[in-house]
Symmetry: C2
Subunit: 156 residues, 2 copies
């Protein structure tokens, strides 16, 4: 009899725990560094970089929500704040009056550039001991996880 191999000790739970811890520690450090050095909260940076990389430097509110893992409601409020700060603006869609684009402004572009530089530098510090081989391995592994997660049945 396989003596109560408690589910509590399942190695997959530990693996996921590692993922959680790796992420949150990184996020905590990088996030607070970025904010203190540029005044930009990490979520804002996340929004700006997404917009900056998109066609026309704009994105539908709902796509943005999807990309940064927030509710559309949450994005509405987030964009409200960023708009008030002048980094982002709402643009109507010419062909569908329901949709609203969030587009990056000149000021947003500016600070994005600056923040990206700072962030990249901090990341280089954080991943100090990693050579390009290590990074490639990490990227590949994370990509597989990401993909696996994306293939999961949408929240039922």
């Amino acid at each position: 009899m396989s003596s109560a191999a408690a589910a509590i000790d399942d190695p997959l739970i530990t693996t996921f725990g590692r993922l959680a811890e790796a992420y949150s520690r990184m996020e905590q450090w990088l996030g607070s560094a970025l904010e203190s050095e540029t005044g930009l909260p990490h979520v804002w940076f996340e929004v700006l970089i997404r917009l900056g990389r998109s066609e026309g430097e704009q994105l539908m509110m709902s796509s943005l929500a999807d990309q940064i893992a927030l509710t559309t409601s949450g994005v509405t409020r987030l964009v409200d704040r960023m708009q008030a700060a002048g980094y982002v603006e709402r643009r109507p869609c010419p062909t569908d009056r329901r949709v609203s684009y969030a587009g990056i402004t000149a000021a947003g572009h500016d600070i994005l550039e600056r923040a990206a530089t700072v962030h990249a530098r901090n990341l280089r510090t954080a991943f100090d001991g990693f050579n390009s081989q290590d990074l490639a391995t990490l990227d590949a592994a994370l990509d597989r996880v990401r993909e696996a997660a994306s293939g999961l049945p949408r929240q039922s």
Copy 2:
């Protein structure tokens, strides 16, 4: 002149983005699955498993805070709720009257067992395509990240 190799496209930023996305998608799916199947929010599970794995099945409030990446203030309130639900109890420390331990109760133990089983099963689904070699690689990579993050200067 190396044509504006914008920091925006720095590969490390993308790597970190992958980490964030991998984590939050997994968390989203696993979290909502766990909660809908057992009624236990993922953070609660996180608390219980930490307590369950500790000496005496209890942990100082501040250690708990550290482990689940929350403020001690946040933990105070979280434990309040879990105590009200009967899964956890506060225990005084005999040698230092400042500290308070959060300890798991019988009910907490019960639901932890059940939730761990469910969670482990879900994880097996999520990591379906991964063989043990893949998992070992992933574990190793995550561990390095986790360690790198831990070695970073504590939030200044």
